[in-house]
């Protein structure tokens, strides 16, 4: 077992700016281990404000957790020394949401590709560098001659986002954290970008954490799903099983709300949802939950209800308390990990 990145009960709380403002809990304590020997695509799904981006930023070391810690090969991210930090920066790569914001408009797009090559000394000569970059661009379906030498504004959003994926390929990381990589590109291009991420996982054995609000694309490309609601994971496990038989009422709501190309399906819900304030001590979904009762005044623990499934709901079957999310997540060979 070679744990690349391990989150141990990490949590994040953003304090309020004024007296009396309790601040925002962005992430409840959660544990997740990412094993580089068993690379998988794990999608983190949830609505805006559910804490999925905070989770990504904590894993990337961009935000220091308020509680718990993130270990990179056994060392705390916040205290990595120079060499280990360099290696972390190489092994864990990010693809961000906005393909417009990540580029410096004054540099040609080549800049984002040559910088890592030089920084990590990936090529010995200019010619080798060019080859390396060209190969990386081709692997995401771009033609180098159409891309190199251009400025960001000369390329489409889809092309720019694919260059970011190509950049990740170039570095050959062990893990890519992709935060909403396709939410700003056209539906027709989504498939191409997600396809290149899936290929990286299959062909290069790169683990991928795919953060998204779109459960349908998450289901299409990922092996595992983590469904988040208001800072906590409410359901985790095998993507196929969760989508075909969701057990948490929030997952069920999420799936029913996805519009599908089926004109016979009744999609618009006629009863308007009552949205009250959630009791901080209880289940956060209770005010919106059709099945909530007195028991829901307490916070439901995340229970492992099947070898590859964990649910945080009192209405779910009984199970054992899950210590770490990786226990119910499968590697891409499809074998679930021992607890």
């Amino acid at each position: 077992m070679s744990v690349l990145l391990q989150a141990e009960r990490v949590s994040k709380h953003f304090p309020g700016a004024r007296f009396g403002n309790p601040g925002t809990v962005a992430l409840d304590p959660m544990s997740l281990a990412i094993d580089s020997a068993r690379p998988a695509i794990t999608a983190v799904v949830g609505e805006s404000g559910s804490g999925k981006t905070t989770l990504a930023r904590v894993l990337l070391g961009l935000v220091a957790p308020t509680g718990g810690r993130v270990l990179y090969r056994g060392e705390d991210l916040t205290t990595l020394d120079g060499e280990a930090r360099q290696s972390f920066r190489r092994d864990v790569q990010a693809v961000f949401q906005d393909p417009y914001e990540v580029y410096n408009p004054f540099y040609r797009v080549d800049h984002v590709l040559t910088t890592p090559v030089r920084k990590f000394r990936l090529a010995r000569s200019k010619a080798a560098e060019r080859d390396l970059i060209a190969t990386a661009l081709r692997s995401v379906g771009l033609r180098p001659e159409e891309i190199l030498g251009r400025y960001p504004h000369q390329l489409s959003g889809g092309q720019r986002q694919r260059i970011m994926v190509a950049r990740a390929v170039l570095i050959r990381p062990k893990l890519i954290v992709a935060d909403e990589p396709v939410s700003m590109v056209d539906a027709s291009l989504r498939a191409t970008i997600l396809g290149s991420l899936a290929r990286l996982n299959q062909e290069m054995g790169i683990s991928i954490i795919y953060i998204t609000h779109d459960l349908a694309t998450a289901y299409q490309v990922s092996h595992n799903l983590l469904v988040m609601y208001r800072a906590a994971v409410v359901e985790a496990g095998d993507a196929e099983r969760i989508v075909q038989a969701p057990q948490h009422p929030y997952t069920q709501l999420l799936i029913s709300a996805i519009p599908q190309a089926d004109t016979n399906r009744v999609w618009l819900d006629t009863n308007r949802e009552a949205a009250g304030a959630a009791d901080p001590a209880g289940c956060r979904f209770a005010p919106r939950c059709p099945r909530a009762d007195a028991a829901c005044a307490a916070a439901p623990p995340l229970l492992r209800v099947a070898p590859d499934r964990a649910v945080a709901c009192f209405r779910a079957p009984d199970g054992t308390v899950l210590r770490e999310l990786g226990e119910v997540l499968a590697g891409h060979d499809g074998v679930s990990q021992e607890g």
């Binding site: 609505e47 996805i258 599908q260």
Partner: protein, 360 residues
């Protein structure tokens, strides 16, 4: 940027400067593209005929909307789908005559309630907007004024259309619950509201004068699915109460399938298919429509996700023949040279594809 400023005056005829076969072809086929729709039992509330929008560009004429024709019936929900740059939003703006220079409407007519509104004066058109045809803009975050309370913004619209100020408060108190907001929201600033609430506030503004047509331009593109469904539910409810027709502009074929009655698919400024939604979803006739539908990720089963190969064409440099031919799997010789005309292929279906001419 500099080049734009020092560009020659825009009255230079770009066709003379850039004689390209594509443009001449457009001119040649224009007449036959003006499809007339049959009279239907439900009254027509809006009819668009041969609508054309052009943008003057130093490198040539950009034809953003090319010969679009359709009719909207009272109480109907019509979808307009297409990729970014297909001209769907531009067309929505053109109906309202809100195209700004360097863009201009350079052809076609728009009828509202049987009246030709194409040559309406500026003041008359201003009155018609909101009162007759209202728009729910894309990205409500940017269309609300951040320094005005919601109530004041609705009052602005009412005042502009001569509703006596004494009635404003009562109208606002009546409007907000209609879109699922509490009346207190009138006192909130936009930043105090969630994305879904802001979009509802925009719907409230759009319906404040009980329009007959609501044009919703990607009203839910920035919202997550659960909120999206609530907002669409609200839109459906107010539409039913007002008996208004809705034009939903968007790119999500799933949303179209669940919401609209008829769907028009736009590609490179042209309406390439128009048919009842069930018909389009089960039997798309245009290869582009087929590609749009199959690029939608399914929740039923996992399958390799299919994108649409290639990129949307540059509007100022369209390929000759059918604009979709370089990306089309079913392309044959005729597609490369001859632009397909919009043809009626069934009682309710129009399509612009050479393949659809000979029924299989």
């Amino acid at each position: 940027m500099n080049r734009l400023r020092t560009a020659p005056p825009v009255n230079v005829n770009p066709q003379r400067l850039f004689p390209r076969p594509g443009l001449r072809m457009m001119a040649a086929t224009r007449r036959e593209n003006n499809v007339t729709h049959p009279q239907t039992p439900r009254a027509e509330v809006l009819r668009v005929q041969g609508l054309r929008v052009a943008f003057d560009h130093p490198l040539g004429l950009v034809r953003a909307v090319d010969d679009v024709a359709f009719a909207l019936r009272a109480g109907e929900r019509l979808g307009l789908a297409g990729e970014s740059g297909s001209g769907k939003s531009t067309m929505a703006l053109a109906i309202l005559r809100m195209i700004k220079p360097p863009g201009r409407i350079d052809g076609g007519r728009v009828f509202f309630d049987g009246q030709d509104i194409t040559d309406l004066g500026i003041e008359e058109m201003r009155r018609l907007r909101l009162a007759g045809i209202a728009m729910v803009p894309q990205g409500s975050m940017n269309s609300l004024n951040p320094v005005l309370r919601i109530g004041a913004q609705i009052a602005d619209a009412l005042r502009d259309h001569d509703v006596p100020p004494a009635e404003h408060a009562a109208r606002i108190a009546e409007l907000l619950p209609q879109v699922g907001l509490k009346p207190e929201v009138a006192h909130s600033y936009p930043h105090e509201l969630s994305g879904g609430m802001k979009q509802r506030a925009c719907i409230a503004i759009a319906i404040c004068l009980k329009p007959k047509v609501i044009i919703a331009d990607e009203p839910t593109s920035a919202l997550d699915v659960v909120v999206q469904r609530q907002v669409m539910q609200t839109l459906a409810e107010v539409q039913r109460t007002l008996g208004a027709a809705v034009i939903l502009v968007g790119h999500d074929m799933g949303l179209m399938a669940q919401f609209v009655d008829r769907l028009g698919v736009m590609y490179a400024g042209r309406l390439v298919e128009l048919a009842p939604i069930a018909d389009i979803i089960t039997r798309p006739r245009h290869p582009y429509t087929q590609a749009l539908i199959s690029s939608l990720p399914s929740l039923e089963r996992r399958a390799p996700m299919l994108g649409i190969p290639g990129l949307a064409p540059l509007l100022r440099d369209l390929p000759p023949g059918c604009a979709f031919h370089p990306r089309c799997a079913a392309c044959f010789d005729r597609c490369r040279t001859e632009k397909p005309a919009v043809r009626q292929v069934a009682a309710e279906a129009w399509v612009a594809c050479h393949l659809a001419e000979t029924p299989p």
